[in-house]
């Protein structure tokens, strides 16, 4: 399984990358960590004419902003984010694949890949994520809730590059991630990111692996498990049927909120 031929650019600046992406149009793809894209190339599920490698762009910083948000640059590795001392990120990342994958995979890339079972997409949704997007035509911001359209589908347009993701970590909140997968590191059959407020009032949870995209539920802890399960639209496949996945959502939610 070898990828089909493609042209390759390795820009050193964001402007250079945007120019290459504009030129490539909808035949161009951004190559960041490549831990999802390269397997798709190997299977020839994706056959872009041009890969724009953003790994050498100066977008590798995690910053705490005055707004209270955390800003994660486009090429911050999952491994670096895991060690940055940001509690909810560390909690979610330990479920993501394996160390050699996290050494290369990026946080922003995982969110933009939009796998419905990805922990990081659900986390970004729960933490009011906003994606900073640039293109040759200008800049815009996209809320993660508007970004994730469906399985592997986002509202990003050809020529656009996500340069950073901002997350609101809600001081004082406790975040729990729970999931069930067939093997450690596999994509989850279903999972939840649960946020518990310091006052024990309205909780916030994001559910993943149980619909075409992760979804949010806010409410008091005792109502959330049933509510979240009712909102699930799980798929049936060889790994688990829809009923089992819906059941997992309720059980995982109860466990996350009780812990």
């Amino acid at each position: 399984m070898k990828p089909a031929p493609f042209a390759y650019r390795r820009p050193e600046s964001v402007d250079e990358a945007l120019a290459a992406l504009a030129e490539g149009g909808d035949e161009a793809r951004v190559l960041a960590g490549g831990q999802s894209l390269v397997p798709m190339l190997a299977f020839r599920l994706a056959r872009p004419a041009l890969l724009v490698d953003v790994n050498r762009l100066p977008l590798d910083r995690i910053e705490a902003l005055a707004s209270g948000e955390v800003r994660i640059g486009a090429v911050v590795r999952q491994r670096a984010a895991e060690r940055a001392g940001i509690a909810p990120l560390g909690e979610a990342l330990r479920w993501v694949a394996h160390p050699p994958i996290r050494n290369r995979g990026t946080v922003v890339g995982s969110v933009c890949h939009a796998d419905p079972a990805a922990e990081l997409s659900a986390l970004a949704l729960a933490l009011d994520g906003v994606l900073e997007v640039r293109s040759a035509a200008g800049a815009r911001e996209v809320r993660v809730s508007d970004l994730l359209v469906g399985p592997l589908m986002t509202s990003l347009r050809p020529g656009e590059l996500a340069v950073a993701l901002r997350l609101r970590t809600r001081p004082g909140w406790r975040w729990r991630v729970r999931e069930v997968s067939r093997r450690q590191g596999d994509f989850a059959l279903a999972g939840v990111v649960a946020g518990l407020p310091p006052d024990g009032g309205v909780c916030r949870v994001a559910v993943f692996g149980a619909a075409g995209r992760p979804y949010l539920v806010d409410g008091p802890a005792e109502e959330l498990p049933a509510l979240a399960a009712a909102m699930a639209e799980p798929a049936s496949d060889v790994h688990a049927d829809a009923g089992y996945r819906r059941h997992l959502v309720e059980v995982l939610m109860r466990r996350a909120l009780a812990s």
């Binding site: 399984m1 070898k2 990828p3 089909a4 031929p5 493609f6 042209a7 390759y8 390795r10 190559l31 490549g34 831990q35 390269v38 397997p39 190339l41 190997a42 299977f43 890969l51 490698d53 790994n55 491994r79 694949a97 394996h98 160390p99 050699p100 994958i101 050494n103 290369r104 093997r183 450690q184 590191g185």
Partner: protein, 155 residues
């Protein structure tokens, strides 16, 4: 075609390659180091794990052009001076390999941790091997070897 210049096990390897050539194929076919094995070629099995600038990576999920200017370490470097590396000796002692196909990947996933071996927690050893697929030896011997080499083995 693009020129690449990569340091592999301390040796400079230069080649003119297609962008789609994976780092794994570069290591095997251009650097002629066949200790790095290809199992699945889509990042699942871990057999092709090497160190890139000291970090364990799947070499099938990187293109050779991306390693331009980087330092790659493969399983051949472990026993550089002829004597087996302590990790390899531990694998030998604990029968941590049967067919051996996955072994280079296991060794390199663990080799990432070797520099700070005195402070590696047992959970890190488990995390290092749980991303590597072995289909014949079983993980008990592999984990015992890792724990022995890193000194976290229960007496």
């Amino acid at each position: 075609m693009i020129d690449v210049d990569v340091e592999v096990n301390g040796r400079r390897v230069r080649a003119r390659v297609e962008p789609r050539l994976t780092l794994a194929d570069f290591i095997r076919d251009r650097a002629h180091l066949t200790g790095t094995h290809l199992g699945c070629e889509h990042g699942v099995c871990g057999s092709c794990t090497v160190l890139l600038d000291g970090e364990a990576v799947r070499s099938c999920l990187l293109f050779a052009v991306q390693a331009e200017g980087s330092r790659v370490t493969t399983v051949e470097a472990l026993a550089g001076d002829g004597a087996l590396h302590p990790l390899q000796q531990a694998f030998h002692r604990h029968h941590a390999l049967q067919c051996g196909y996955c072994t280079p990947g296991f060794l390199m996933a663990l080799a990432e941790l070797w520099e700070r071996r005195n402070e590696v927690a047992d959970e890190e050893l488990i995390a290092a091997v749980d991303g590597q697929l072995c289909r014949c030896t079983g993980y008990a011997g592999i984990l015992a070897a890792a724990r022995d080499a890193f000194g976290t083995l229960e007496p």
